[in-house]
């Protein structure tokens, strides 16, 4: 069994390595050619780089902690209130911030916290405050979505036992919920850290100036006016190394829980008024925090030329492009992630935990190679042989699928591992393999996380700007690229209408995929 899982997973890993390493090699090769900047190793000694490195780590760490720690409380509040009215809608709302292009988030954040905003912060918005506000807006809801399914995986008899022992809320958290969190939290922390580390437009615009330069900005700089590919690659490797380091640290903290055969169900007992009120306040606070910038966007957009734009052929072409890229990237990403995770789960089952973690890590860590580096490198490799214009969609889809992998690993990983631990022996004894195993064991168990993974990657790819901005032209524009183009041509009110359309599209796609694949009811295993 393990060999048959190793082959597709090995293929995926090889493909990953190819997608990441080949473009970098292409860029390095370029720097050896005449007419290009040669590789200059002195960059490692520059005070500029040290400052950039320090600031990147500092803002990413702070953003991560401020996003994920409150997210634990909010996710827990959602988990404890399964019958909350509008719960599904709120959770749908929580999937949106991730897809809003950075520049639109900046505008939305300014609408709320700017000097003419609803909650004005004045000049103090620009600097670390603004960066944190925007990053928490992006990542808190994401972390909530990623952590929430964990509570469903807690066996019901744990809750019953806790009750019999008269555990208080803290003890329940410590002894029942924490062991579950401890497996997934490191991965979520790493993911959010990577997202904040590679954040770009937000940091540069809300950061107040070049004091707030991150590695990502330095990479971008070296692929623009300077066009220094070797430097871009060195900086990309530095970013990769940094994330590996953080990954090692978080993984040290990770413990695989003992999985046992049991039924799990939402926690439904002993609801006191106090805990109900606390949960409600937490959910409302988080909803306000996420909702206000989105609301400001909605208000701006409805004042825009909605009717006039509804007849724009370019807009609907961009709409179709966005949808096509999003869905294709999501399917590709989930298929690749599926093979990786099946392999890592079978390694974990055999007690080869380190190997399992490394496979998961390989799937996640590629995220921090900036799409600009991959895209430029691919361009260098492909353009002598093919007309890159004809390959815009496959390239954009492939890179977006790659960027979606860490989300697939996070959404699906824990469930696949659990399914392996619980049912692998049963499958062996019943000789369930291949399609039948998928149909009867995996699908009912995994369709929910699968739905979440596909939905997340789809909206993420639909919101992509980094890759499409490099390869896309006016003809192949997606909605985010169009927003960016409109903002660059004084068409700010049109841009907000386009942004609203993007958000509505994402909301619809997310709901359809998550519900269509995930199913309506909770599966009780």
């Amino acid at each position: 069994m393990i060999v048959s899982r190793a082959i597709p997973a090995g293929l995926v890993l090889a493909l990953l390595a190819l997608l990441v390493l080949a473009p970098m090699a292409g860029l390095l090769h370029l720097s050896a050619l005449p007419g290009y900047e040669p590789a200059d190793l002195r960059i490692w000694e520059s005070a500029y780089l040290r400052r950039v490195l320090y600031f990147s780590i500092w803002q990413a760490l702070l953003s991560t902690l401020l996003s994920v720690l409150p997210a634990i409380l909010v996710a827990r509040a959602f988990a404890m209130q399964p019958d909350l009215p509008l719960r599904r809608l709120l959770l749908g709302l929580f999937a949106l911030p991730l897809v809003v292009p950075g520049v639109v988030v900046v505008m939305a954040v300014v609408s709320v916290y700017g000097s003419d905003g609803w909650l004005p912060l004045g000049r103090s918005l620009y600097g670390i405050n603004g960066i944190l506000l925007a990053h928490v807006f992006f990542n808190l809801p994401l972390a909530v979505r990623l952590l929430l399914p964990l509570w469903k995986m807690i066996p019901q008899h744990h809750w019953q036992l806790g009750e019999q022992l008269g555990m208080n809320a803290w003890q329940r958290f410590r002894f029942i919920e924490w062991p579950m969190l401890r497996e997934t939290l490191p991965g979520v922390l790493l993911l959010v850290f990577m997202l904040c580390l590679t954040s770009f437009a937000v940091v540069l615009t809300l950061g107040g100036g070049p004091r707030s330069t991150t590695i990502e900005v330095a990479i971008y700089q070296s692929l623009r006016f300077d066009f220094d590919p070797a430097r871009a690659v060195m900086l990309a490797l530095l970013q990769l190394g940094l994330c590996m380091l953080v990954a090692m640290l978080t993984l040290k903290f990770q413990r695989m829980p003992e999985v046992e055969i049991a039924t799990s169900a939402p926690y439904r007992s002993r609801r006191t008024t106090l805990s109900y009120v606390v949960n409600l306040v937490l959910i409302m606070a988080a909803t306000l925090y996420v909702g206000l910038p989105l609301l400001s966007l909605l208000i701006d957009a409805l004042q825009g030329p909605v009717i006039k734009m509804a007849t724009s052929a370019q807009l609907w072409q961009a709409f179709a492009n966005t949808l096509f890229i999003g869905i294709s990237a999501a399917l590709l990403s989930v298929v690749a992630g599926w093979f990786l995770l099946q392999y890592s789960a079978s390694l974990a089952r055999q007690g080869r935990a380190t190997g399992a973690r490394l496979v998961d890590l390989a799937g996640s860590i590629v995220y921090v190679i900036p799409p600009l580096v991959i895209a430029t490198g691919m361009f260098v490799l492909l353009s002598p042989h093919v007309d890159v214009f004809d390959w815009v969609y496959p390239i954009v889809i492939a890179i977006n699928a790659l960027m979606g992998l860490p989300f697939v690993v996070r959404c699906l990983g824990p469930s696949i591992r659990q399914s392996h631990a619980r049912y692998h022996r049963l499958c062996l004894s019943l000789d369930l393999q291949g399609w039948n195993r998928f149909r009867f064991i995996d699908w009912p168990l995994l369709r929910r996380p699968l739905g979440l993974a596909i939905a997340l990657v789809a909206v993420l790819a639909m919101g992509d700007l980094g890759v499409i901005a490099l390869f896309g032209s006016t003809q192949t524009a997606t909605l985010p690229l169009m927003i960016y183009q409109q903002l660059g041509a004084y068409l700010i009110s049109q841009a907000t209408v386009t942004a609203l359309l993007l958000l509505l599209l994402c909301l619809a796609v997310f709901a359809l995929l998550e519900r269509g694949i995930g199913g309506k009811a909770d599966v009780v295993n």
């Binding site: 520049v103 623009r224 353009s383 524009a477 183009q485 004084y490």
Partner: protein
């Protein structure tokens, strides 16, 4: 799930097939920036006007900006599909020239509106503008009247500017300061720095923040108020005229050496400096046309400030020293 892959591949294949269908008439490919090629830019009108005379198809490929399209052309080398590159400015021409990817245009620009006669055998200008600080007249009653006043007045207006590492106007301001202050530019930046609310990645972020009321002035173009006057009938915005003069941006086009259709490309460049093309520029690209004078500029442009004298550093010194100047700027601004 397993049946998805073949379907996806089939979908992709059919998609690519549609794209590979070629047109029968000659196809002239112009790389330009996206705001030129988009619906609201000069693109559609330029395309219609040129195709009416050339018996060809004009394909405008909108890439993100001048830097991106030059980098792309360099990467593509002789394999490029581009016949024309339209949309780099004079801060990039030295680099474009040294790439050896361009051919002489063989045209001369008679009676141009540019302050100095145009002499460049590779690149031909199609429009130009001036950088300026734009403000809202209702909010800022007495704007500074010179760059020196803006820098010296520590209680002066707050500013939004762009980063010279990532943005053309940002680079323009850096060169403007250099032109006015010379070696003392870093001191001037240090004086200005406390009033800079933020330094954005590109023009759009800074301008968007300005319209949201985040600062008194934004670095943009002298022609920006014309957009608000003509397209929105909004008279609140104006550019502050500075005594020292305004830094100039001249946008140019060039013929790609590897082009297989030099004649058609040549025809396009000649069209580009004709009145038919030039009259499209003011109200779509919001810049000044290089020829045609009063006849092609809408009357609303009369309300704009007179930016004279035009300031411009020569392309060689920009190319040679830009990197050092940016580092200097970074040093001051990171304090």
């Amino acid at each position: 799930m397993y049946s998805v892959l073949p379907r996806l591949a089939a979908g992709l294949a059919s998609f690519l097939f549609c794209f590979s269908l070629q047109a029968a008439t000659p196809n002239l490919v112009v790389y330009t920036y996206d705001s030129f090629a988009s619906d609201w830019g000069p693109g559609p009108k330029v395309k219609a006007a040129f195709e009416a005379t050339c018996n060809c198809t004009l394909e405008l490929v909108g890439l993100s900006d001048g830097v991106a399209m030059l980098n792309r052309l360099k990467l593509e080398g002789d394999n490029s599909r581009a016949d024309i590159l339209l949309g780099i400015d004079t801060n990039l021409t030295a680099e474009a020239r040294s790439s050896g990817l361009f051919d002489a245009h063989g045209l001369s620009l008679q009676s141009s509106a540019l302050p100095t006669p145009w002499q460049d055998d590779l690149f031909l200008p199609y429009d130009f503008g001036y950088f300026a600080f734009v403000y809202n007249k209702e909010k800022l009653a007495s704007p500074p009247t010179s760059l020196r006043q803006l820098v010296d007045d520590s209680g002066g207006p707050t500013l939004l500017i762009q980063d010279p590492r990532t943005s053309t106007p940002g680079l323009g301001l850096m060169l403007w300061m250099k032109k006015v202050y010379g070696d003392k530019a870093d001191q001037a930046w240090a004086q200005l720095s406390p009033r800079i609310v933020t330094v954005s990645k590109g023009w759009s972020e800074a301008y968007g923040l300005f319209l949201k009321g985040e600062a008194d002035m934004v670095l943009s173009y002298t022609t920006s108020p014309a957009y608000h006057i003509i397209a929105e009938q909004d008279l609140r915005f104006a550019a502050a005229r500075f005594e020292e003069g305004h830094y100039q941006q001249i946008e140019v086009a060039g013929m790609v050496r590897s082009s297989q259709q030099k004649e058609l490309a040549h025809q396009f460049l000649a069209f580009m400096i004709s009145e038919d093309f030039q009259k499209i520029i003011p109200t779509t690209n919001w810049m000044y046309p290089v020829v045609g004078g009063q006849a092609v500029v809408p009357t609303e442009f009369d309300q704009l400030i007179n930016p004279a004298p035009a300031l411009l550093l020569d392309e060689t010194s920009v190319a040679e020293q830009r990197k050092r100047w940016v580092e200097e700027w970074l040093e001051v601004m990171s304090r």
